[in-house]
Symmetry: C2
């Protein structure tokens, strides 16, 4: 079993000769339809992640019996034992992806296998039971199909898909969960940029809070990476900034922004045009949009593309020398999010992203949304039949 190689013991029951189920299967999905359907919201007025569809996909696992059959059932609360390991030891991880209704009326998901594979990696890191990521994708497609009326009929909105996986062990021992629940909920979401144009964000760069570190879980989508960030985020907001620019190490390497990956388009130290983003060295979340921006850039072959760090010192110098053209975050929610200012050591560092178009950020946004909404054919889109 995958997990055993990594020091986990999810295969215990199997090793003892008992019958356990190694993965759930989409062909086993049981559908229990809701009696009625909720009112579909106007996507232009939605607050992210506050409205949910009629159904939830729920897949239970126990060490004793392995995976149970997946069930699509009416959206409902989850009942947990007060000692459940998710509530005490943050035995939890999640994913985020979207279903888009294209101009042709068809529903597409964007590179969902990357999400499923990342979820499996997070699962192994948290010592939860493994599964076949293709089977999970097929289960999710069934859920989206059941709730397909909830996919907004708008090319500036989408249906956000949130898989979550939690430990439900009913005891307080600090140990691998012997029970778990994988579930998926769906939430219609509006355009990230309401006006249709970019609104640049201001960042707070402060080394006293650290998002992730070598030997930790920064490259996995575990819950613990997120809740611990609220404190710094609130301090950023109190200082008039919208997001935290997370730094790392004594040399203050630039890592991520808020909950997004970060890109800088600049003229580098050698005078070359270069798109740069931090490398996947263990502290950076391997974002699907991040990967897609890198893939597009390399396909275009028009400028240098690098996965390497730059420090705050490098950035400040480059801004002073007017070598920085654009800086933007990337993520599923906004696709790309331009950066306009960085508050650093009580000084405001202006990033001329907007003054420069933002040409590069717009090009990525358009290239990706063209795929999302089926305006351009791409094998990155998984089209529902």
């Amino acid at each position: 079993m995958e997990c055993c190689k990594n020091g986990c013991e999810n295969g215990d029951a199997g090793h003892n000769g008992e019958h356990v189920v190694d993965t759930f299967k989409a062909s086993d999905v049981i559908i229990q339809r809701a009696g009625s359907s909720g009112e579909k919201p106007d996507p232009s007025n939605l607050v992210f992640g506050t409205v949910f569809t009629d159904h939830i996909l729920s897949i239970e696992w126990t060490a004793e019996h392995g995976w149970d059959k997946p069930v699509i059932k009416p959206f409902q609360n989850i009942s947990l034992h007060p000692a459940a390991s998710v509530l005490h030891y943050a035995v939890e991880l999640f994913e985020g992806l979207k279903a888009y209704r294209g101009e042709d009326g068809k529903i597409r998901l964007f590179r969902p296998k990357l999400n499923m594979e990342r979820m499996l990696r997070s699962t192994i890191r948290m010592c939860l039971p493994t599964f076949d990521p293709d089977e999970l994708l097929q289960c999710i497609l069934k859920l989206v199909d059941v709730d397909q009326d909830w996919v907004p009929n708008s090319t500036s909105a989408s249906l956000y898909i949130r898989p979550a996986f939690i430990g439900t062990e009913k005891s307080l021992g600090v140990k691998k969960s012997s029970a778990a629940l994988l579930y998926v909920i769906l939430s219609p979401v509006g355009a990230y940029f309401k006006t249709g144009s970019f609104n640049p964000v201001s960042l707070w760069a402060e080394p006293k809070y650290v998002r992730a570190w070598k030997g930790g879980t920064g490259d996995c989508k575990t819950g613990g990476n997120y809740g611990t960030s609220f404190f710094a985020q609130n301090e950023a907001m109190a200082l008039g900034c919208q997001q935290v620019l997370w730094l790392y190490g004594e040399d203050e390497k630039i890592t991520e922004v808020g909950t997004m990956n970060l890109f800088i388009f600049w003229k580098n130290e050698d005078g070359e045009e270069e798109l740069i983003t931090p490398p996947l060295d263990g502290i950076i979340l391997p974002g699907v949009v991040r990967q897609s921006i890198l893939d597009l850039s390399r396909k275009w072959g028009e400028f240098k593309v690098s996965e390497r760090y730059i420090t705050m010192e490098n950035l400040v110098e480059a801004v002073k020398e007017k070598r920085v053209k654009e800086m933007f975050g990337s993520g599923t929610a906004c696709v790309v999010c331009p950066v306009g200012n960085i508050l650093y050591k009580n000084e405001n560092l202006h990033i001329p992203t907007m003054e420069n178009g933002p040409k590069m950020a717009t090009r990525f946004l358009n290239s990706l949304t063209d795929i999302h909404y089926g305006r351009v054919d791409s094998d990155w889109a998984v089209t529902m039949s």
Copy 2:
């Protein structure tokens, strides 16, 4: 409000002039008694944290209305919205303390205010709403009183008290929870060392996994610190060790062991007898037993007591020079837990803790359990009337 000073915005509603309740009060506790009481287990056969008492203390909070009245009610599952922030972003923290039934039949808690104050610090770090720690202690005493028959009548067992505090925000936005639930459950637990004597543990010292880091939450009892440790713990067990010895930095500073603080009693570089434990610099959990061992040692005044780091290199050298006498973990579960071996760079480093008595570990264990069970009077004991 405390929280506002720290960058949080829990006072928002208050700032807007609405009426919110700043803390719950023990005098408001509503008691809903269970119809019948569960069977009390034999404490000598208990697996830690698997059996629970008849009641749960539950205190709800919303940003809109502040704290609700505390309720002691029959032990029951917790119903959570599938988007609850505890399930996605690990908005959660906990505490652990014990109630002991002394030889005089009276029930005592050990320095519970230290737990309540630490819980408040964890609460602020996780941007959950603050409360008066004295009121929480009084609520917990009421819960223990209602379930007092569950406090084992044994001086080698106790009632483990587990306060937990979770974010129950019903939306997927990565932001401070606007709803939360503080609850407390109780679990009778047996002796940590079943034979009554010490069993030394073997540790795996490996720098590739890091428990906590500067700028993170290592000094708070947040869920995220624990679930992320399972992976390394499983790898330790696969290598025949029982716990992880957590290292930090390129110089491999010794920090904690498993979920315990760590002490070394040795002859230091200058030939002095010294008790040493890592300092509270942000990555070390400020344990109640840790503090008590330091306090006792300083009161005794018989040897040097230091809060400072030593590295693996220092330790290996000291073991070779036969300067290390004892090494032990400290925590609420075991009080003190002797260390016998460390697996480091594929070599077994023997620590002669047991050969040396363990004189110091036993002295701490006896001094503390004498207070727990009322054999010695101490203002560290809070005796229930």
